[in-house]
C-alpha cells in the first residue's frame, strides 16, 4: 500500500476525530471508493487505521491495540471474499463475450431467405428472449413455385436450446427439397432428434409446403402450436390442427398431413408459443387478442401485420417477453 494513501487516510481520519461532521464522513466515504479501486483489502484498511491512530494519539490502553489486531484477523476472510468476487466478475465478463460470439454464430446459422412465390406475400419476425434463440425458422425454396417452411420451438431456452436447434438446421439442410411433404420431413427430423438429443429435450415443429400454382398449403405438426387460418371471404379465424408427437419422443412416431387451398386475402399465421403464451398482469393473453390484432391490419402487407402484432404484444407485456418469439404470416394476394 502506498505511503500516499496512508497519509491521506490519516489526514481524513484526523479531521473527523477533530470534528464529527457529515462533511468529514462524506470525504471518508469517497476515499473508501478509491481504496476499493486500488484493490486494498479490508484487513489492510484496519492496519492502516491502527497505524494512523498510533501516530495521531500514541498513548492509548493496550486493549485498543489488541482489538485492532483481532479485527485484522477477522477481516482476512472478508478480503478473500472480495478477491473471489472480483475474479468471478472477470469470469462472468469472459462468459458474456463468449455468449455474444455464440449468438453471432447462431445468427449466421439461422439466416434464411424468404422465398419469392407468385401470389404470396410473406412476413417474418423472430426475436429471442435471451441472447440465444430457441426458436427456429427455415425456408426451403427452389424457385419452381414450391416453398417449404419449418417453424420449430426447442423446449427450453438459451444455450442448450440453441445447440439442439443447430442440429435441426443440419437435418433440414440434408432434406433440402421444397417439394418434400410435411409428414416425411417431420418423420426424418424426428429420427434425428430422437437419436442425438438428450432425453429431457423436446422439439415441437410445424412444417408446411406451399404450391403457388394451386395456392395449396400442405401442413403437418409435431406437437406444435396450431397455425391460424383467416378466411377473407367469411371473415373468420380457424385453427390448422394436425396430429403428431413432439420430435424426439418416439422413433416410430407418424405424422398427419392436411391441405388447405388459399383464396385472395386469406392469411396463414404460423408461430411459436412465445406469441400465444404471452402474459400481462391479468394472466395469459388470449388467442382472441391475437385474432383481433390481425383483423385490424389484414389489409396491410404481411410484414406490416407481423410487426404490428409484435409491437402490440410487447406493449401489453410491458416489453417483457418471457419466451422466444417467432411469427410468420402468409398472405394470398
Amino acid at each position: 500500500m502506498s505511503q500516499e494513501i496512508e497519509f491521506q487516510y490519516k489526514e481524513i481520519l484526523k479531521e473527523y476525530t477533530k470534528k464529527q461532521t457529515e462533511q468529514n464522513l462524506y470525504v471518508g466515504q469517497n476515499f473508501s471508493r478509491q481504496l476499493i479501486l486500488e484493490n486494498i483489502a479490508p484487513e489492510e484498511v484496519i492496519s492502516m487505521h491502527k497505524a494512523a491512530i498510533q501516530e495521531l494519539y500514541g498513548e492509548l490502553p493496550d486493549v485498543v491495540w489488541h482489538s485492532f489486531d483481532f479485527l485484522i484477523e477477522m477481516m482476512i476472510n472478508y478480503g478473500l471474499a472480495l478477491q473471489e468476487r472480483q475474479s468471478l466478475l472477470k469470469q462472468q465478463e469472459e462468459l458474456k463475450v463468449e455468449m455474444d460470439l455464440a449468438a453471432n454464430v447462431q445468427e449466421t446459422l439461422l439466416k434464411t431467405k424468404l422465398p419469392i412465390l407468385e401470389g404470396l406475400d410473406i412476413g417474418l419476425l423472430s426475436i429471442p428472449a435471451r441472447k440465444m434463440n430457441g426458436d427456429y425458422i427455415y425456408f426451403v425454396s427452389d424457385h419452381d413455385g414450391y416453398a417449404g417452411v419449418a417453424v420449430a420451438d426447442v423446449i427450453g431456452k438459451g444455450l442448450p436450446a440453441a445447440l439442439c436447434m443447430s442440429m435441426i438446421k443440419f437435418g433440414m439442410d440434408s432434406l433440402n427439397s421444397s417439394h418434400a411433404l410435411p409428414k416425411d420431413v417431420l418423420g426424418v427430423i424426428n429420427r434425428i432428434v430422437e437419436k442425438s438429443v438428450d432425453d429431457s429435450m423436446f422439439v415441437s415443429m410445424f412444417y408446411s409446403n406451399y404450391d403457388a400454382k394451386q395456392a395449396r398449403l400442405t401442413y403437418g405438426s409435431a406437437g406444435h402450436e396450431p397455425a391460424i387460418l383467416y378466411r377473407a371471404k367469411d371473415k373468420e379465424f380457424s385453427e390448422l390442427f394436425a396430429k403428431g408427437l413432439l420430435l424426439g419422443v418416439s422413433p416410430v412416431a407418424v405424422y398427419e398431413e392436411h391441405t388447405v387451398d388459399l383464396e385472395k386475402g386469406d392469411l396463414v399465421i404460423m408461430m411459436t408459443d412465445g406469441v400465444t403464451e404471452g402474459r400481462n398482469d391479468e394472466g395469459f393473453i388470449e388467442r382472441e387478442v391475437i385474432y383481433e390484432l390481425i383483423e385490424r391490419k389484414k389489409k396491410e402487407p404481411a410484414q406490416t401485420i407481423v410487426q404490428y402484432v409484435y409491437d402490440e404484444l410487447e406493449r401489453m407485456q410491458s416489453a417483457q417477453f418471457q419466451d422466444d418469439f417467432t411469427l410468420v404470416i402468409y398472405k394470398k394476394v
Binding site: A41, E43, E44, S47, K50, D69, I72, E73, I76, N77, L80, A81, Q83, E84, S87, L88, Q91
Partner: protein, 133 residues
Amino acid sequence: MSDQSSVEILTEWDIVAARQLGRNVAKELGFGTVDQARITTAISELARNIYLYAGKGRIEIQQLTENGMKGILIIAADSGPGIPDIRKVMEDGFTTSGGLGAGLPGVKRLMDDFKIETILGEGTDIRATKWLR
C-alpha cells in the same frame, strides 16, 4: 538454507498449534500483523483440510532464505485419499459457496507461491510460500 519444525494434525486442537507455530515463525521473520494474519489463515485452512478430509497429516513450517530474500514456507502433507479433481477444488466458488471457508484458492491468494501434488489413494502435498517484502 532453511529451519524447520512441524505439527502433527490429528484433532481440531492441532490446528491451533499449527497456527501458533506459523505465527511465531512469521513474527520472528519480521512479517507485519496483516501478513501474520494471512499466513495463519492459510495454515488454518490447510490444517483444517487435513483434519476434515485426510484424518491425519502434518503441517511443516520452514524459514527460507533465497537470493537475499526471507520467506516462510508452509508444507501440508497427508496420506489421505488424495483429491480426485484438482481443477475443481481450485475453482472460485467451489468450497466457499458451501460455507467451508477460503478453500485452496483462498490459500493461493493469501500466499505468494502455491504448489499442489496429489495422488489418488496416496495423499496430498501442498507447499505455499510467502516472501517478506
